[in-house]
Amino acid sequence: MNAVTAEKMVLAFIGCITFLIVALLFTILGIMFLKGLPAMHGGFLFEESSDFGRAGGILYQLVGTLILMGVAVLWSLPVALGSVLFQTEYLNTGKLKTFLTQLTYILNATPTILFGLVGYLLFGVYLETGVSWVTGSLILAVMILPTLQVSIREAVEALPEKYREAGMSLGLSRPTQIWRIILPQSLYGIVTGVLLGLARAAGETAAIMFTATTFSGIQFPQSFSDPVPTLQTHILVLAQEGANPESIAQAWGAGLVLLGLVFLMTLMAWAFRTRMVMESEL
């Protein structure tokens, strides 16, 4: 067997795998549609839920999820970006850099329920801020921080040294270099990170259950100290204690909406990204 046949076989093999992975997405999509569709009625997206999820829609849950996700990324992105740039562009001791990198990975592996409980103790018990969306978004922000950091770091470090040198030789100050060379060139990775982070935040229940959400009784938060209903906790509660088929169906429906929401954001990010990316695609 010569190299070319071997190559072809490997190619066929890994091609199949890739195809299967793509097929996996469609399977998941298909299942979610089949399961979620029964809950979809005219006003599912635009009605308040009532009767313990047996009737109505999920409007405010949707809004709550959006608020939490969005604000969490808002907190997290600057910290992630700042810390990664500090580590890659300013620090030049290898040891400290490695330590910080490892810390990122360790933080990433922390079970989310720990964030929830520690957050509950810190905010709820010691700081007595009560259950509110601000608290929840802060906790989510810490939770998605590692995801953002890893993606951003990867993108920034993949940037060839020669670009930095070319920028340096033109007398660009470090901030200018970051702004003009590093950020545009690693935008792709940053957006990937934000997407992954958003998805993590969207799927998270344990961390916000005790700190930020409420099942019913609130529609739209009117102050910083109000909790919000969210899709993910709605799903969890209904899937746990909904004894009747309507509630279960509504849980799947909410799941489908959540999925749709994340997909929608991803699509928007793509559109934005293709316009902004400057790295040549070769």
Binding site: T18, I21, N108, T110, A155, R174, T192
Partner: protein, 289 residues
């Protein structure tokens, strides 16, 4: 504090970045210190037998061995499933697919990575456990194997898309140089591209391991949640650290030794991940020499 002596001269923007870094450091440290402080009582009362004990019974003894083994097994399984698949997929996408297709596959991966964890949980309970049970003719489908498989599916897109990024970011000049020497695409990929993107790939895998290690809800729903030290059988139910926390932590909140024991579990996970991460970085270092 040492950090300040190593950094190059800082301008105002640099100070902002440094501050951000301290926020990050603060969060991680705070969590770590919290866990240590909260688990001191249990370590004091149980000592080493906290990690070696097989028996977890509130009010009597707290032995974390079943959970530690479970976490390692489930994560190991997930990585075992994911690694070949993700690497093949990444290699194919980055090296063989034309750019337009590549972007499409990447898109699919990002969509998949965007499927929220709770949905994987729902799907796992409704389909995967049944599938595993029927396919393998088991007594029951809630097993380590199922949890590993579910985790593998969960982390696959993340690992794949991040390692693909790492592969793709290797400059094409290197590929050209290798191909001009008559290497096939595969040889080029394996001998030039892969080694150069290794840090990125290890990073992606570490991220996946972390995700698998820390996943709570999805694992809790399919692993069976039975505290026992497993033998060599992967097709039995068991318990992982996060699923144990998920089942008991809310109930045990602030209730003395039980709570401390659970925080001790959290600390243990922290340490295990630290060891894995450390070895990962050691591996990169090795490969760079």
């Amino acid at each position: 504090m040492n950090a300040f002596f190593c950094v190059r001269k800082l301008e105002p923007v640099g100070w902002i970045f440094a501050a951000m870094n301290f926020v990050f450091l603060g969060c991680a440290m705070a969590l770590g210190i919290f866990l240590v402080v909260e688990s001191v009582p249990i370590l004091r009362s149980e000592g080493l037998s906290f990690w070696l004990g097989e028996n977890w019974w509130v009010g009597e003894s707290f032995g974390a061995l079943p959970m530690i083994c479970g976490s390692l097994i489930v994560t190991g399984l997930a990585i075992f499933f994911v690694l070949p698949v993700a690497l093949s997929g990444a290699l194919f996408t980055s090296e063989y697919l034309p750019p337009s297709f590549r972007r499409k596959v990447k898109g699919v991966m990002e969509l998949l990575a965007g499927v929220p964890g709770i949905i994987y949980g729902l799907l796992g309970v409704s389909f995967l456990t049944l599938g595993v049970k029927d396919a393998l003719n088991l007594l029951d489908g809630n097993t380590f194997f199922t949890a590993g498989l579910l985790l593998a599916i969960m982390i696959l897109p993340t690992v794949l898309t991040l390692s693909e990024d790492a592969l793709h970011s290797v400059s094409y000049e290197f590929r050209e140089a290798a191909e001009s020497l008559g290497l096939t695409k595969l040889q080029t990929a394996l001998r030039v591209v892969l080694p150069q993107s290794l840090p990125g790939i290890v990073g992606a895998v570490l991220l996946g391991i972390g995700r698998a290690m820390g996943e709570t809800i999805a694992v809790m729903l399919v692993v069976g949640s039975l505290d026992r030290v497993p033998g060599f059988n992967l097709f039995v139910s068991g318990q992982t650290i996060p699923s144990k926390l998920g089942r008991e932590a809310a109930e045990a909140l602030g209730s003395g030794l039980h709570w401390n024991a659970l925080m001790g579990l959290g600390l243990t996970l922290f340490l295990v991940v630290a060891i894995i991460t450390f070895s990962g970085h050691l591996f990169i270092k090795r490969c760079n020499q």
